[in-house]
């Protein structure tokens, strides 16, 4: 097991009270596999990933639990030690490729930044070659020319590729991808998903993939964690989950998307019922 999240609790405090955004969540991420966290807005899926990176800001607080990454508890590391983990051993790509890149630095400089921080043994020339190599790896044409380009010249798909190049520059053991394809067109989304799978095959990276799109989950996941209001309601291998969803919430979620050729056209779609307390059903952990 590369990473184990055990009884993670992340709470947010306000005058109105405590919001238990992540409430006693446990799951594992095996080496070289893809684990998907699925859920709707407010389910706590992004907060879970930010907690793993220890990027929770005030008024949020990680209240309890363990995040075991290769025998170390990330929650017990000092800030300096944690900085060495981020970007080098675990890195992250975000949803918005348009806003996550710095508009005033070149693409090459931004990829190089990860190397400057984490691979100090490399000299300038070696780093340049490495940046070019990583641009090539994510399928950007003319990487030597693209090194000096600014982000505004690139399309959404290309920017997301650059984000992936930054994340992969130090060959991390784990990649956290928070809705990396939500802002992209379908054909570009397919390319980005293919790219992530390809990189995983080549480098053996584990991926934690956060999404609300069950179609994407079906394509990329080995294991699926379904979150609802801060809790895990169902956990299963992707195959089992789609063949035999057990928790009522998972079922409702699956039936709420029309499937071409399966769902009768213009029929009433099932919905997640706001009046049902899905937490009252037993959790389905497989």
């Amino acid at each position: 097991m590369l990473l184990s999240v055990k009884n993670l609790k992340t709470y947010f405090y306000s005058d109105a009270g405590v919001n238990k955004a992540v409430n006693d969540v446990s799951f594992d991420i095996p080496k070289g596999k893809t684990v998907c966290i699925v859920g709707e807005s407010g389910s706590g899926k992004s907060i879970t990933s930010l907690s793993i990176m220890r990027l929770i800001d005030h008024p949020g607080e990680i209240e309890g639990g363990e995040i075991i990454f290769e025998d170390r508890d990330l929650l017990k590391l000092s800030d300096a030690q944690m900085r060495k983990v981020r970007g080098k051993e675990i890195s992250m790509i975000f949803q918005e490729p348009m806003t996550s890149l710095n508009p005033s630095y070149t693409v090459g400089y931004q990829i190089d930044e990860a190397l400057r921080l984490h691979q100090k043994q490399l000299n300038k020339k070696q780093r340049f070659e490495k940046v070019v190599e990583s641009l090539e790896l994510v399928g950007i044409h003319n990487p030597r020319e693209k090194y000096g380009e600014y982000p505004f010249k690139l399309s959404g798909g290309q920017r997301q590729r650059v984000m992936i190049a930054i994340a992969m520059a130090c060959e991390p053991k784990m990649l956290i991808a928070d809705e990396p394809t939500t802002a992209l067109d379908v054909t570009i989304q397919a390319q980005v998903l293919d790219l992530m799978k390809e990189l995983q095959d080549k480098k053996g990276t584990s991926i934690l993939f956060i999404t609300h799109d069950l179609g994407v989950v079906y394509q990329i996941a080995d294991e699926v964690v379904v979150m609802y209001k801060g809790h895990i309601v169902e956990k299963a291998s992707a195959e089992e989950l789609f063949k035999d969803p057990r928790h009522p919430y998972t079922k409702a979620l699956l039936h709420s998307i029309p499937i071409p050729g399966v769902t009768p056209r213009k029929s009433k779609l099932d919905t997640v019922d706001e009046n049902v307390d899905y937490l009252s059903f037993p959790k389905e952990i497989r």
Binding site: F242, L253, S256, I259
Partner: protein, 263 residues
């Protein structure tokens, strides 16, 4: 079903982009000579990626933008020539539901005023009649009458989209342009809004021009689909036909890219 409402002939919309004082402006052909019909009571979807011209086409139909060339015949009359009363009457018949329910509602207005605004501007109804109509519309879109006095920020995305739908219905339109009405919503909420749109269509005998990039949604709701690519129509077919025998290479690429759950 066969009655044709819109006949769109050789529609063109070009935008000029100034590159500099002494340079020749670049011309972007957002919509490049397209023709299609819209039949009464159908759901016609415009599909394609960002920049393919689907939203521009919708803007031209709504008369928010003027075309560079071509005709849009609405019940046989060219809307590009509409003025005065004729234009006013046309605007009442065609309404729009926007993509982003967060930015398309005025945050300082109460739900009741938002839904009632088209009535206030376009009819001679008295305030009490307007309120009655608004409450009726709220009931139709599944909102509680007590919410009349609330502000948009007190609602979730799905509820806000219902407000937008009620507003679009206020003037009893014939046609509603739905510009990505569910793409900003969570999947389960998306299902609720799609169900609502289909119910309303049946009840009020509406025609939808539905814009989306999500092919699973489009497959579910449409009668016919227009696939657009860089300002051109690459394919126009009934849903069945399109999903069973896609002809254009681009359509095939688009269909193979949908991440779906099969079996």
């Amino acid at each position: 079903m066969s009655e044709i409402i819109y006949e769109i002939k050789n529609l063109k919309k070009y935008y000029e982009i100034n590159l500099g004082l002494f340079k020749k402006p670049k011309i972007v052909k957002a919509v490049n000579d397209i023709s299609f019909n819209v039949k009464k009571g159908e759901v016609l979807s415009l599909v394609g990626e960002s920049g393919c011209g689907k939203s521009t086409t919708a803007k031209l139909i709504l008369k928010i933008e003027e075309p560079t060339g071509g005709e849009i015949l609405f019940n046989g009359k060219d809307i590009t020539k509409f003025k005065g009363h004729e234009l006013e009457a046309y605007r009442k018949k065609v309404q729009i539901i926007f993509q982003d329910p967060y930015s398309s509602l005025n945050p300082r207005w109460k739900v009741g005023s938002i839904i009632g605004e088209p009535l206030k501007l376009n009819t001679k109804m008295k305030d009490i009649e307007i309120k009655e109509r608004v409450l009726y519309l709220m009931e139709k879109v599944g909102m509680h009458p007590d919410w009349y006095e609330r502000y948009p920020h007190q609602f979730s995305g799905g509820q806000r989209q219902r407000i937008g739908i009620a507003r679009a219905l206020a003037l009893n339109p014939e046609i509603i342009v739905c510009d990505e009405p569910v793409s900003a919503l969570d999947v389960s909420i998306q299902a609720q809004v799609l169900n609502l749109l289909l119910d309303l269509q049946k009840e009020f005998n509406l025609t939808y021009i539905f814009i989306s990039h999500d092919l699973s949604v489009v497959e579910h709701i449409s009668d016919r689909i227009v696939v657009m690519y860089f300002g051109d129509i690459v394919e126009l077919k009934s849903v069945d036909d399109l999903f069973e025998n896609p002809e254009a290479d681009y359509t095939k690429k688009l269909l193979s890219a949908i991440p779906t759950i099969k079996d």
